[in-house]
């Protein structure tokens, strides 16, 4: 397999776009949140500022090798997801990244790579509360994956493929060909699980900014935090892109991409600003009720 520099170039460019779009989007969302809460909120460029600042700071302490590995895992997970996800489906295929190396199953599983690494790194940090945060995160994640999986399986049945690019191609030719219309139940189930995946309220106990002020974000500061923030920006866009590809017809140019990912992302923010926070057992139970049933229905329809 000879090395394809052109592909690498397009991929890195794509990464850059996604990163910036992710940062911008997070700023917008925070702004919206603040406005709903009758606050003024941050300026739109704040994430860049944070990022630059954090990358500029050097940590003077270390908790050991695993402590490094946490962000590395996390970042590899996020960016890896990006690498294996086709961004734009175009005739030239420049923006499909390295998705030829694996299919939807790879994506689904690779999501955990970062989580696991993060969990380990935080554990190494030595602060007990990070472990609690992780346990909650893992618990919730198992629950949200159930409707998600069901939806994905429903798609696989519907489109007879596990290749994301093929799924997108199948949705071309008009808005009514989108999965959103052809398979609405699966879409709803998946969109509900997205709420948990992005860990906004009401499913944000995982991050629990108030109750657990000293979880992983505190342990990791300076460059580490920068890496994590970068990753978060990329990851959110990639996740949204996944949903876009699966349910909303994908994108053939960057504008479409930005609109669609924004709307998908906005959905979770919208819900988050409206609902109060769940305890972890409640959220697990919740995901195993309505979305689960929807997922099952989605499969039954296409069986």
């Amino acid at each position: 397999m000879e090395f394809d520099f052109k592909k690498l170039g397009f991929t890195l460019l794509g990464l850059l776009i996604v990163l910036n779009w992710g940062l911008l989007m997070s700023a917008i969302m925070r702004k919206i949140n603040a406005r709903v809460a009758k606050r003024y909120g941050i300026p739109w460029y704040q994430p860049w500022v944070d990022l630059v600042k954090n990358y500029a700071i050097r940590s003077q302490i270390t908790h050991g090798i695993m402590f490094y590995l946490g962000p590395v895992f996390r970042f590899s997970g996020g960016v890896g997801l990006f690498l294996f996800m086709p961004m734009l489906i175009t005739a030239g295929g420049q923006w499909t990244n390295y998705s030829f190396q694996g299919d939807l199953v790879l994506i689904l599983y690779f999501q955990f790579f970062g989580m696991l690494g993060m969990a380990l790194g935080a554990g190494e940090g030595g602060h007990p509360y990070s472990a609690i945060g992780i346990s909650r995160g893992l618990s919730q994640f198992t629950a949200i994956e159930v409707p998600m999986t069901l939806a994905v399986i429903s798609l696989a049945i519907q489109y007879q493929t596990l290749s994301i690019a093929d799924i997108v191609k199948a949705q071309q030719g008009g808005i009514m060909n989108w999965t959103m219309w052809t398979n609405p139940v699966a879409t709803i189930a998946a969109m509900l699980s997205l709420l948990g995946a992005l860990a906004h309220a009401p499913f944000n106990l995982v991050r629990a900014p108030n109750e657990i002020p000293i979880g992983p974000p505190t342990e990791y500061h300076s460059t580490f935090l920068g890496v994590l923030q970068t990753n978060a920006a990329v990851l959110h866009v990639v996740e949204a892109a996944l949903f876009m590809n699966l349910f909303f017809g994908g994108a053939s140019n960057w504008f479409e991409f930005i609109v669609k990912t924004f709307l998908i992302y906005f959905w979770s923010v919208f819900v988050g600003t409206v609902f109060p926070r769940y305890r972890i057992e409640h959220s697990v139970s919740w995901f195993l009720k309505v979305p689960l049933v929807l997922g099952i229905i989605a499969i039954i329809i296409f069986m």
């Binding site: 199953v105 599983y109 602060h127 198992t142 139970s285």
Partner: protein
């Protein structure tokens, strides 16, 4: 040929003369009797040899020179000679055993025993029904005499009950004899057999005689007297009764068996099976050793009675079956009774004193095994043939009953064995190790082994290989050498064995080759860890090798018999391995019980196959056309006990968790694959049947649920090894699921899972085991922060859990990816969703495992712990290299696997373009993903690391820490019950319903046993009524 009357002359003449000797000469009584018995044995052998060489045929010997039926006649034939030899050798050794006792008592005792055994011989030879009555009476009287050996109040009341019972029984027999004479005009058995009168009176007469002999054999439930005797009499007398008297009575029954018409066959069968099941069932609650032996003895004899009843169905195998089972019972029961006398412990819990002399423990194990019918003992082959022949006769209900009975018997015998192996004996009194008492036991132990070898050669094809077993015996003999020598020897042996079979398998049979590699090479790798153990490690190597031999035999088996032989050997070896753990007593028991139950299911299925094809070749599985559903289910259940599928899994967590550190990987990573292999064999052979598809669906669901429940349960464990054990359950659930799909991709995934599970579960169990060895506890909340002390272990666990979790890029993902493609291909969406869900749940426990043990706060008491032993690290890192290779180049093994599986399922195979695998739905490039992630990962890591080169290491206490002042570690360890919230919401899935189900079953059986055995209320009068009721019940059932 010597006339049997010389035996009678020697016995009786010497008996009479013993009365002459005065008190002073009583110290020679033993010697005199011993010489007499030596003559007896000599006579028996002198009969046996010509018969065995077929120089002579069965001959009738007349008394007084007149022809029968007018004179009493004896008959000497091959089987008479065999039985006589058995009885006489028991007598000879009994005298040796009782040497001192006989000398210290009056010479009466020697005389009584001599006359008793002479009588038993005569019972074997006699052909005149009234003469048999006389010998029966003499046997009863002399037995009632020797029961009093100890002369305590128990023996008196037992002996009296015995007399009461036998007086009723012999009266019944006498009435029968007289009626036979009245209606047939003859007392000669052969006459009666050739032309018995058909009138009702004659039939009833025959019935009376038969039932009396059956009653003589203590049929359940009219056998309270016998049990009391076994309990009350000296164990050495129990040996004589169980081995001698019962054997002779059984032969009597054999002699009468040609009289059986259909009705009477039923009599024997019902009586025998009722006894076999009932007696064993009531034995469950028993904890007095001698009485328990009595229950067991009666049960075994009951089985033999049933076998005699089945004579018409067993054809020319009848003698083989009867004699193998009888010989096992005979040798084992006598040996056990003798052991009981040697150690003088009545409660089975106190039999742990056997361990003071390991030789005795080994003998005990041999006897227990031969009673249960495990290989390589004769009863194994006997039971095998029995089941085959009965199945061949379409007696499936009976097969079921026999297997249930055997299973119940196994319950208490293995519980007993467990007590002997595990319980503490330091408080118990010493016992004397008298040579004259040990020699007989040793001789019988050796004989039962030899008999097993002989029986095996009689029925097996040449392939049955005893050399490995001989090596195990050798290992036992050098057991006092240091562990490292034995370890080296074992590794060499396994290596040599691999060298012998692997190349050939590679050429011929890829599937078997892969499993052989897992079993044998895996065995070698895990054995390396054994070097970490100091001292002698007695008893470890023989049983470990036993397991590996069993596994190797399964691989090589060509016939169902060889397969079953290997299966049982493997079960036995692994049982001993498991029970070596510290708190393993109950887990060992539940393991062996599930295994034996499963093995019986397999046996029954093989029987069904034999019934149809009359063939024991493994390949005949594929040609069967009838009862497919049943056969398939039985085999699947049998193999699923080994793979610990949901419902049959409850033995596994304890067994694996409590096992020794290097045993856990053996029994988890390697042993469980035996079940997988079995399932492969099953599905290859029978998967083409339409019924198999249906069952496959069920199996798929079971597999999926197993995966889910296993993973969830693992997440809630606080014990590291238990966590891994539950993880094994769920992994095997995946494999079962993959297998059940019966498609190309499904099997690919199952195969890939099997290989990967072997790798990462070995790593994890070895590492955690090594950690446990260092820190001295399994409880995760007592560990923490060990990453600093044990980086080697940490890295191993890290790689292990990434591989296990199935996260790309490590090899576990290959299995997952194949899985989902297969699921969608197969349209098993819901099962697939469950499997996926459980795959994610795995993260919970994997995180918990690595976090609780290696991360977080280092515990005070573990501050000085060193890294794991190098002997553990070597195999661990060998395996890690293995994982890395197959992660980076999955096509290395996926392609051959694909080729192999294409042989069974040609459709839907992967197509390869370079490293890219294409399935019908998805695609995946293992090396590409590995490279992509690897590059990114290492770049980032190097960058971050280089950024903070100057960073200072934070000391443990230089941080915020909360709620971690360890007083009660389980409440203050942050990871203790860390998934409490999760448990609240979905803990119900892992509610121990199966545990409850099985324990309710157990309780129920125990209650039935306890309630039922109260009919033995100890009152001789009641026992008499039992006998009469028994007789009448049979009469009215059979005759009306």
């Amino acid at each position: 040929m010597v006339s049997p009357f010389y035996l009678l002359g020697v016995g009786l003449g010497l008996g009479f003369l013993l009365g002459l000797t005065g008190k002073n000469s009583k110290k020679y009584t033993s010697a005199i009797t011993f010489v007499a018995f030596a003559f007896f044995v000599f006579f028996s052998i002198s009969w046996l040899i010509p018969f065995a060489l077929k120089q002579v045929t069965e001959t009738l010997i007349y008394t007084a020179g007149f022809l029968p039926p007018f004179s009493i006649s004896l008959s000497v034939g091959f089987y008479e000679a065999v039985f006589s030899l058995m009885i006489n050798s028991l007598g000879l050794l009994s005298i040796l055993f009782l040497w001192k006792k006989i000398n210290s008592e009056s010479n009466a005792l020697g005389g009584i025993i001599l006359v008793l055994f002479m009588t038993l011989n005569m019972l074997v030879f006699a052909r005149d029904i009234f003469n048999i009555f006389v010998w029966l009476e003499i046997a009863a009287i002399s037995t009632s005499g020797i029961i009093l050996l100890d002369k305590n109040k128990f023996s008196y009341s037992a002996g009296f009950k015995y007399l009461l019972a036998s007086s009723i029984i012999s009266s019944l027999y006498l009435i029968g004899v007289v009626l036979v004479y009245f209606t047939n005009g003859t007392l000669f058995l052969n006459d009666l057999i050739t032309n018995a009168s058909g009138v009702t009176m004659s039939v009833t007469a025959v019935f009376l005689m038969l039932i009396a002999i059956v009653l003589e054999l203590k049929p359940f439930p009219a056998n309270g007297w016998a049990l009391d005797v076994y309990e009350g009499a000296n164990p050495a007398i129990g040996a004589i009764m169980s081995g001698g008297v019962a054997t002779a009575s059984l032969f009597l029954l054999y002699k009468f068996s040609p009289l059986l018409d259909n009705k009477f066959s039923y009599l024997f069968v019902i009586a025998g099976l009722l006894t076999f099941v009932g007696s064993n069932l009531f034995g469950i609650k028993q904890d007095k050793a001698n009485r328990l032996l009595g229950y067991s003895s009666i049960g075994q004899i009951g089985l033999l009675v049933a076998i005699i009843g089945f004579r018409p169905f067993l054809g020319d195998k009848f003698e083989f079956i009867a004699i193998t089972i009888l010989v096992s019972h005979f040798l084992a029961k006598a040996g056990l009774f003798w052991l009981s006398d040697v150690i003088k412990q009545d409660n089975i819990k106190n039999w742990s004193v056997l361990r003071r002399k390991p030789l005795l423990l080994v003998l005990f194990g041999i006897f227990v095994f031969s009673l249960i019918g495990l290989p390589p003992f004769p009863s194994f082959f006997g039971k095998w043939e029995l089941i085959m022949m009965l199945s061949g006769g379409y007696k499936f209900a009976v097969v079921t009953i026999i297997l249930v009975g055997s299973f119940i018997e196994a319950i208490y015998l293995f519980r007993w064995l467990g007590y002997a192996i595990k319980l503490d004996f330091s408080e118990l009194p010493e016992y004397k190790f008298e040579l004259n008492k040990i020699i007989p036991v040793v001789i019988f132990g050796a004989l039962v082994l030899g008999a097993g070898y002989y029986a095996g050669n009689l029925i097996c094809l040449k392939t049955l290989n005893y050399i490995p077993l001989a090596f195990i015996v050798l290992l036992y003999f050098i057991d006092s050498l240091p562990a490292y020598i034995k370890n080296t020897l074992s590794i060499l042996a396994l290596g040599y064995y691999s060298y012998l079979i692997l190349p050939n398998l590679y050429e011929t049979d890829m599937l078997r080759f892969i499993f052989a590699v897992i079993f044998l090479i895996g065995g070698i790798i895990t054995l390396v860890a054994g070097y970490a153990y100091k001292g002698k490690r007695q008893g470890f190597y023989p049983v470990a090798l036993l397991m590996y031999v069993g596994l190797a035999l399964i691989i090589q088996a060509q016939t169902t018999l060889e397969f079953f032989f290997g299966w049982e050997l493997m079960t036995a070896g692994s049982y001993f391995l498991i029970i070596r753990g510290k708190k393993s007593i109950e887990h060992g028991l539940s393991y062996i019980l599930f295994s034996i139950g499963g093995a019986y299911a397999i046996l029954a299925a093989f029987g069904l196959i034999y019934a149809e094809t009359s063939d024991i070749l493994l390949s005949s599985l594929s040609v069967a056309t009838q009862n497919i559903t049943l056969i398939f289910s039985l085999l699947a259940i049998g193999f699923m006990t080994k793979t610990a599928s949901l419902g049959l899994h409850i033995w596994l967590p304890g067994a694996h968790a409590e096992a020794e550190s290097d045993v856990s990987p053996m029994v988890s990573a390697i042993l469980l694959k035996a079940g997988v292999f079995g399932l492969f064999i099953l599905m290859i052979a029978m998967g083409h049947n339409p019924e198999a598809e249906q069952i496959g669906l069920i199996l798929g669901w079971i597999g999926a649920l197993t995966a889910l429940v296993g993973n969830l349960a693992a997440a809630f464990q606080e014990d590291a090894k238990r966590l891994l054990a539950y993880s094994s359950i769920s992994q095997l659930g995946y494999i079962l699921f993959g297998l059940a799909m019966m498609t190309h991709l499904g099997w690919m995934s199952a195969m890939v899972y099997s290989i990967n599970h072997f790798l990462y579960k070995s790593i994890l169990f070895l590492t955690i085991g090594a950690v446990v060895l260092k820190v001295g506890t399994h409880d995760m909340y007592k560990m923490g922060g060990l990453i600093k002390n044990m980086p080697l272990a940490f890295i191993a666990v890290l790689i292990g859990i990434i591989a296990l979790s199935g996260v790309p890029p490590l090899s576990g993902f290959a299995g997952k990816w194949l899985f989902y493609n297969a699921i969608i291909d197969k349209h098993w969406y819901f099962q697939g969703a469950i499997v996926f869900f459980s795959g994610i749940v795995a993260f919970l426990y994997l995180f918990k495992l690595i976090y609780s043990v290696f991360l977080g706060q280092l515990k005070d008491n573990l501050r000085k712990v060193k890294d794991i032993s190098v002997w553990f690290a070597i195999p661990i890192y060998i395996l890690i290299i293995g994982i890395m290779i197959i992660s980076a180049k999955p096509e290395l093994y996926l392609k051959p696997l694909g080729t192999m599986i294409s042989g069974f399922y040609p459709n839907g195979e992967l197509s390869w373009t370079g490293g890219l695998a294409n399935a019908p739905y998805g695609y995946w490039n293992g090396s590409g993903v590995m490279i992509t992630i690897g590059i990114m990962f290492s770049l980032l890591f190097l960058w971050l690391w280089s950024l903070s080169r100057k960073a200072q290491k934070v000391k443990q206490f230089n941080i915020v820490y909360a709620a971690e002042a360890p007083q009660r570690p389980e409440t203050t360890h942050i990871s203790y019950n860390i998934y409490a919230g999760y448990y609240k919401s979905i803990g119900w899935i892992v509610a121990p319903i199966f545990e409850k189900f099985w324990s309710t079953m157990t309780e129920w059986i125990h209650s039935v046993s306890d309630f039922g055995r109260r009919i033995y209320n100890g009152n001789g009068q009641y026992y008499m009524t039992h006998i009469l009721i028994y007789m009448l019940a049979f009469y009215f059932i059979l005759m009306h």
